[in-house]
Each structure stands twice: as C-alpha cells, then as structure tokens.
Symmetry: none
Subunit: 337 residues, 4 copies
C-alpha cells in the first residue's frame, strides 16, 4: 500500500476484545483507521460503524476480507472460524493480526503455516501481546544482554480472580497457559518438547468439575524447566508473574512493585530511570493525544491553563528571591480574570 | 475545525523537545499530523520537514502561526520568545500547547492570561506533563477519593544525574522546582502563598558557584506544607518522588517500585491489577501500532508469526492430553516450512 | 566487678519501659540478672520482684543505688528525677543505663556531664536505642564505608498512630524529635547548630491546642540539612523512615516492605508496624546486652554517652524555642569536658 | 532440674555450627551456659573450653552425655553418629537439641522415635530453625488466622551461592530440601505423601556430575502441591523464599527488600543475604532460648520433635529415590507411636 495515507482496517468480531481494538485504532493508533467492521450480530457491527467517520458494517466476514477498500484485517472472531478467515486473508493477500488461537486444531494451524510459507512474505501476525509489554521486553533485553547468563529455569504465576462460566479444565490450558507457552518460546528462543499438568486438590470456589488450580511443567529442547501456576478462581485479582533463573542470576517481573533483579556481585534491585524521557515519555504522549482531541472537539484545552502557567511563574519568581535572601517570600497572585 | 480530518499542527522549535514532539505526533498520536515546522536554525527545520509527508518548513514563526493551513501550534521555542508567539496565537485564534515556561516574566505571563480571558474560550495549554503521568493521575484520584483524608503535607524529591553547563542556581528554581510547583497546585487544588529556599552546604560536584542541593519549602493558602529536595548533580540518575501525607494516611510514588500506600486499618501496599486490560492495555496499543507500521512499510509482521501460533497450539494440545493422563506428554512439532 | 558471675542490676521505675527491661534482662540477656526493682508504686515493684528468683523490691531509689549487692543501675524513672539518681550513681560509682532524657534541663544535663568527666572512666550510657537497630547500623556502615560519598542531606519521617493524652506540642520536640536529633549526630558524627520548627495547618484529629504535624529543620556544623516530619496522630501506625543523600548516592530505611500479601478485596501489601516495641524491640535487647557486656568488661559504656544526652537536650530546647517563635534558633553547646 | 540456676549444656561437635552455638549460649542466651564441649578433634574442644568460665573439654561424647554435671545436650556432630548419641541421651534421660538430620537412615530415625515414645515425656528436639524465624512465624500465624483461606499451593526457592566440595546430588535433597520438607509439614500441619525430583539441564558452574538445579514436587495427604527450586551453585547469594497460595489469597516471604540504596552506576537495590547465618542467625538464637526455657521448665521440647525428624528423613529418602528414577515416589510413614 502507499505509505502516505491511513491504513484501512477491517475488524472482524466486535465483542469485548474487538470493540477495544476498534476504539484503540480510532483514538490511539497513528496511521490507521477502521474502515469496515463485521460481527455475526449484525446490529452490533452497524452500531459501531455508525459512530466512526468513514466506517461501514459488512455482514459477511469473507466479503469484508475481499473488499478492495480493506488494506488489512484484525481478527477478533471466535477461534472456530479463524481457519476459514485466515485462508481468505492469504488468498486475498491481506495482512492480518489474528487474536489467539491461530486456529483451534493443531493440524489446521500447521496447514495455515504451510500455506503462508508459499507466499513471498508473511501475512499473519498472532496476538500474543505480552511480547509488547514493557516488563517482558525489559526481561527479554536483560536475557539477551547476557547479564543473567544462560537461562536455566522459569517460574510463572497466572492468576485470575474469576473466569466466565463456560471455562473448563481444558480452557485453562488453551486460553491461559497458552500465554506462558508463548512467553517461554519468546524469552528462550527455543521450542517446548514436553508438558505435564499436575492437579492439586481443587479450590472449593472453582466451578463443579473444573480442575483449578493446575500446575504446568514444561521442558524445552535444551532441557530448561518451566513451571506455571494456573489459578483462575482466586477471588483476588489478576496476577501475572514471571521469574527467570539463569546461570548468573535471576530476575522477576509482575510483583506489582517493578522488576527486582538479583545478580552477582551480591546486590538486588532494579534499573534506575536514566532521564525524564524514559520516566515521562508516555505522559507526553497522553498529554498531546488529549490536547489534539480537545482541539478537534473545539474545547482547545484539556490540561494546565495559562493561569496555571502564570501561577507557576509567580511562585518561581518568589523562589528565586528567597534563593537570594534565604527568607520566606510571600507569593502575591493577581486576581484571576 | 471539522472533526473528520487530521489536525494540522505547526511545531515551533525543533530542538530536543520539539523534535520529540514531531516524532510523537507523526508516529504515535491519532488524529493529528505535523503540517509545518519552524526553527531559528532553518536547515534543521527543513531537514525534519523533508522526512514527513505533507510537511513544510516555514522560516518565520509568526508566519507559521498565521498560516491558514495551520490548525494549532505546539510551542517548543526558548521561553524568551514565548510572549510574542503566544500573542500571535491569540490574535489568530490558534489553539496552542506551550512548553513551560508560559513566559519568562511574571508580568508578561499575567498579560497573556488577561488577553486570553477576553476570548470566548481558552486557547492556551501549558506543558506540565506530570498531570498526565499514570502515577500522578493515580495519586490525584486517591486524594480526590478521600481515602487519605484531607492532605496536610507533601515531601518531594527531584534529582538529576547532571544538568547542562548553563544551569545556574536560579534555573534550579525556575526549571526544576517549577514542576513541583505545578504538582502542588494540581494535587491540592489551591494556590501557594509562600516559598523559601534553604541552602545546605553544596555538592563538590556542582559547578562553581551553583547552589546545589537546595531545599524548597512551600506553604499553601490553607497552610499545607510542601518540602522539595532539588539536587541536580547527583551523578546517579533521574529520580522524582512525591509523598502526600493526609489526615488518614499517606501515599508515595516514584520509588521505582510502584506506589506504596499506607492507610488505616494498619496495612501498606498498592492496588492490585484488576484485569488484563489494565495490566496489558498499553501492550495492546504498542502491538497494534507496530503492526500498523509494519503493514504500511510492506513487511506485514512485527511480532509473533503464524509459526508461533502453531507451536503454541501444539504445546497446548499436549497439555490438554496431560491434563487427562497426568503424565508428561511429548510435543512433536512439524518441520518448519 | 569480677567477670565470672552475673551482673546484678537494679531497675528503677517499672512502668511500661522498665517492666519490659526487667523481662528482657531476666529472659533474653546473657550475663545479667535483675537483683533489685524499685518504683514509686511500691506494690508494683513488690509484685515484679516476687516473680523473679533472687530479686527484691527496695522502696527508696537512692538506697537501691547505694546497695552493695547492686552492680549497675537501669534508670527507667520519669525524667524529672533523673538528675538526683544519676548523681547518686556517680557518687557510688555505679554504671548506669539511663532512658532518655538524660535530665529535663539543658543546664543540669551539662552538670552531669561535667561531674562524670572528673572520674577516670565514664559511668553513664543513654538509651538512644536506634543506634542498636539493624537498619540504622547498616546505614551507618554504608556511610562510613564511603559508598554514598559525604552525606549532604537527610530526610526523616517519625509517625505515631496516636500519643498519650498528656502529649503537647513541646513533647513532640522533646520526646519524638529527640530520636532524630541523636540519629543525626550518630550518622553524621557532628553537632547540630540550628533548629527550626515549621507549623503546617494541624490535623483535626490532634488534641485541642497541640500543633501536629510539625516539620523540624536541622542544620549541622558543616552545613548538612536535615528535615523531619513529626506527626503523632496519624491514626495509622508507627512509622520511622530515614533517607540519607550523599554526594554519590542515597539510601533509605524504614519502608516496611517485608511479607507481601495479596487478598480480596483487591489489595496487596504487608503489615505496618503497630508500635515502637515491635519496631525496636530487638534494638533494646542488643542495647542492653552490649551494655551488660561493657559493664562486665569494666568499660561501662558501649553506646551513647552523657555528652550525647546533653547535646540532644540542648538541640531539643532550641527546638521548643523555635516552636514558639517560628524562627531558626541557634544551638550553643558548652565546651566538651 | 531446679529452675533457679543456669542450665549446664554439653555441646557435642564444635565445627562451624557447634562453635556458633557455643558462642550463642555463652553470650546471647539467658539461663544456660556451656559446661562441656566435645569434638573428635580434641584440641579444638580444649581451645574452646579454655575460653569459657567453668567449661571443660571431654574427649568421649558418650561420657559427656552421661556426665551428671550435664543437664542437657546440644548435638552438632556429623549425622552418622547421631543415632548412638541420641540413644545415650535417651538412656541417661538428657534433653537433647539435635541438629538435622535426626539420623541418616529412615529406619534408625523411626527406632529413635519409638524408643523415645516409651518415656513419660519427650527428650528430643530437632534443629529445624526456620520454625523460629520471624517471617515463617508470621506466615504461619497468617495461615492459622484464616485470612488466606485453606492453603492449596506452595512455591519455594532455595538458593546458595555455592556449596562445599563434598556436596552431591543426593545431599541437595537431604541437606537443602529437608528444610522445605519441614516448612511444608509445619505450615500445613499434615504429612507429605509423594515426592518427585525433576532434573533440568544443569548449571555449567555445578561440580562435575552434580545435578543442580533440581525441582522437587511434593504432594501432601490432602492433595496440596508444593514445588521447590533447589539451586546451590548460583554464584549470587543465599536466597530462601516461600509463597503460599490459599483459597482466598497469597503471601510471599523472603524477597530481601530492606534498605533501598541508589548510587552510580545507575542501580538501585539493597544487599542480598550472603548466607544462612545472616539470614537465620536470630532464628537460631530464638530456637535455643526457647529450648533452654523448655528444658528448665521440665517439658524438654518446644519445637520440632523426633517424629518431625523421622518424617523429614522419610520424605528425603523418597526424594533421593526419585532423583534416580525421575518418577514420583510415594512416602510411607509408619504409624505414629
């Protein structure tokens, strides 16, 4: 596509995840817009399309994929229909970001991989979003930098306060563990060769017949050990924690208190923030996005006003005076217009 | 302006901050683009303009402001020229986001406030970006929610590893303290009525004649006390910390280990993450922005591939099998195409 | 005394602190036992004596001091009677561990110091137990090791959930700030030359007429700055925190991060420290064990000296004066004998 | 024994641990003294005896046990001689604090339990000192208080920087895992019924032929799951961490967050714990003080019993078997006498 206009995306499936993606592309993503939405509940798609400039609802997902006005596809449909929709994307050469799972069967996933491999470039990206999380990216960089030596072990915790009523024991594996599976492959850059699920006595709060918690034990090609606590009815909160233990040290993320690193010589801690751009970079993004939105909405300001700038100047001027005298200096503000 | 096309912004001043803002608007902000850049070093502006579709350099900042193709202005010029440029924005009714300071003199800042107050709506926003930082927003929400009772005290720390050679004792007040001045006014919703600068013995590493560290003591209209350590030659790192002490508890941000909250009944801690959208919302943003960029660039994928989706499916299928048997299950991957 | 039998200690005053000390010496301190107890409430002393093998109650504190069966004295009586009792200890050459304050007046504290200085070895140790706390010892070692460079600043927080009904504004200085006064002198190895008490608007939960919180600003001989938040009616818990900022780095103790607990409703955290006995109980043990060992070894003192008690009294007296005037008050110490 | 004089203890074995215990009893424990020391290196025992008032060296450990001047015995000899020495203690009715292991064989441990059970009161306490550590006591109290609901899972980490050259794969089970075995039994109040040792690829820094790290998976009678990372050649520091996950929440101890230090080059953190003496030194003090008090009170035991020693031995024996087979091994305990 030409690089100088916005990418026109078709979002297929506008349930919770899909609707989030529509809002994201419309309000926070630069260089793209939602051109088409589709859902098996037609009214929902039409409602969403009506709220976005230049967006229309298309009833048939395959028609949406084939539409020449669509540059790329975001698949947030149920896993069971992914196979057909991915094949259509490949046929029509449409780049596609596919929410996990790729497909619901191992064999069809492999089919998709093989079909795509015959093209001259890949078209499919899978939505394992942890790879884009600051903490995981930080942990990956730490491992790649070699500070911890070669990784040997990983301990993971994956807890939900509760899960929807349709969750069963297998979904804990396919829908929860799948993230740690990808984290393992991402951090260690190797395949998993064995998996075992241990079943402790269950939580009384788990639905009848659901085995929860579960402990998954993974082993990689080179013999690395990974254990994962999967516990989806804790009643507390969402908690995702990962600790990698290497030959020279260990690092843990997800404690809700930042990353704590241990390595020789005998210290623990994290990285200090090198400068304001690292500390406040996202705040700048947020500030400008909200200002842009305010100007487009005609209110012009969504943040500190000129009065705030004046008041700060007055206080600082008094501060500079106190710097010279050493005494407290009163701040006299003009009446606010 | 009409809401259905991108906001065309003129960025005035493309030094470090201004160039950051150009990159931000171009790559991470939805609904806006940089239409005009200006700098007193003409070549720099022309270089930047040449790299952005539909952007041109304009030599005269006042001409850039007046330009009918410019919807809004971002002022990243030196403070000394802000007054003229802001007056031009007011005259031409251009919304403007002005990097601190508003102007370099208290009297001219007040002039600007008064001029703007005669319009039917505000046009000027000042770049105190901490108000958009997650931790400060979180702290503000905690205070507004009343959990800590009415605030009584605030302790702040503002440390830089080092500062540019032109920094002097007054700049520590006007350029560093100014942020805590705005934080005080933002968090407490009241004006500062007195300020005192204490001068401990100086750091040997501070430049000759510069008083560093300094301790600022602020007092607000209702008698709240704020102390600020300003120390800009620590040699360590950037560190901004704020603790508010209220009638019923205290909260501290900026420890590099998350927010730690203390309140009755006798507990300390922070908030746990309620769900994956809160935990990984930004990761989703990043994922989709990078995918959009990859598709626009024609590489289509910048993240997990279809193979990654297949491999995860294969491991999870083995996991489901182990869930039934309780035994380790080997994972057999096909040859990678 | 001969080193091969237990030190026989007279404990004068068996209120909360004194009774704690009796239990400590009887059950956790090696090489000492309580031989005599005294209290102005005779029944209390007799009750305690009856529970300890070989211990008797003595009605007159001066008789207890003079008793040849008493090797050393632990003074946990009210400050107002310390002067007489310390003089008796000096007269009878009895080593004495004196709970703060040394005496209630600066002039009498100086008298005690001068009287003691005429002996061939010291007899008086003052109960500033923070010097024996693991965290403070760790911080002292860090400073002495030079890793942080020369200290420049110190920020202290001293919070109580509540205080007894007799507490008034001056006692916050004399009974709470006195610890940070000694910590400053201990960590920095120099005298305090100026003190100022700032008075923010008060906590509504503070008793009528009591100024709480207070901010104390100390300055040392070499120009180091120390600020102390004193807040004794927080309603939350006991919290003592100290951060030292040096030329090359900073260190903070007292953040209360131990066991981390997560439970519904959606919180994480640990337990805050309910009071000074939980926070500093082990420091008291260590203090008394080291004092017992010093007395048995004939050196009598292994901790804060009478001079340390006098210096603290002088700084606090200046603090009380500043509490009234609001201005910085210089501290004038006598020449050290 | 009569309660009004110090307990006279014979310390058998004065290697690192035994010598620590001698110093502890002599200088920090109230109500006891070391009357006799013994070691197979006679000179070492004589040297130590010569430094303590009223202490003598005895060449034969059985003679030391039988000595009427000895009230109680502390066994810090190699495990291989424990059986004989414990039998002698039982014969002479001497209370004994026995460093782990109780004996080196499961069968002899059970013999000891049965012999002791024929007496009218227990005589043997086993040195599982973690039960006396503040953090473990705090965690036990949290569990017993019910705040976390019934425990379901436990994750443990047990790391050493390095181990002596005689350490082999089995000793990692018998000498390191044994602590988590006792912690499991202590916190959960139930027996362990199965143990499996998993063998990830080994650390290159581990001695030739030693399997390190190991992952132990324990299962209790009621189906609770415990996993333990055992890694004794990390090169970093000593690290013992325990997280319990219950029906209503979780709690973690051992994260090492104390003093937080920031200094160049750009790091923050605290000190990691160099070894078990720093981590558990106070627990040893508490253990011995409580044992001394129990013996003086005539109840002899206030801590882990001979049964606890036997049960730990049985679990570790199963662990060693799993180390060879790689399969889960059931633990079969004899009926409790």
């Amino acid at each position: 596509m030409t690089g100088d206009r916005d990418l026109r995306i078709a979002v297929l499936g506008v349930g919770v995840m899909g609707a989030d993606h529509v809002a994201r592309i419309t309000s926070r993503i630069s260089g793209a817009r939602v051109g088409v939405v589709n859902d098996y509940i037609t009214e929902k798609a039409e409602q969403i399309a009506s709220e976005i400039d230049g967006c229309r609802a298309v009833a048939d997902p395959l028609e949406a994929i084939a539409d020449p006005q669509v540059d790329a596809v975001l698949l947030a449909t149920p896993g069971a229909v992914h196979e057909n929709q991915l094949l259509a994307c490949l046929e029509h050469r449409k780049p596609v970001l596919c929410e996990k799972p790729l497909t619901t069967e191992v064999s069809t996933s492999l089919d998709i991989v093989r079909q795509e491999s015959q093209l001259d470039r890949p078209l499919i990206q899978v939505g394992f979003m942890r790879r884009f999380d600051d903490e995981y990216m930080h942990l990956k960089a730490l491992l790649d930098g070699g500070e911890l030596g070669r990784p040997l072990l990983m301990h993971c915790v994956h807890r939900n306060a509760s899960v929807p009523s349709y969750f069963d024991s297998s979904l804990i594996v396919k829908d929860s563990l799948v993230h740690e599976v990808d984290v393992t492959r991402f951090l260690f850059d190797e395949e998993i060769t064995s998996v075992q699920i241990l079943k402790p006595s269950s939580n009384p709060a788990a639905p009848e017949g659901v085995i929860d918690p579960q402990i998954a034990v993974l082993r990689t090609a080179s013999g690395k050990h990974v254990d994962v606590e999967l516990f989806v009815t804790t009643g507390v909160a969402y908690e995702v924690r990962t600790e990698v233990v290497g030959e020279k040290g260990s690092a843990i993320i997800g404690l809700d208190i930042g990353m704590i690193r241990k390595s020789a010589p005998a210290t623990w801690g994290g990285q200090v923030t090198p400068g304001f751009r690292e500390r406040f970079g996202r705040a700048y993004d947020t500030q400008i996005q909200r200002w842009v939105d305010a100007v487009r909405a005609g209110v012009n300001v969504d943040g500190p006003t000129a009065w705030d700038g004046y008041a700060a100047a007055a206080v600082c001027a008094a501060g500079v005076e106190s710097l010279h005298t050493g005494l407290p200096v009163d701040v006299q503000l003009a009446a606010r217009p």
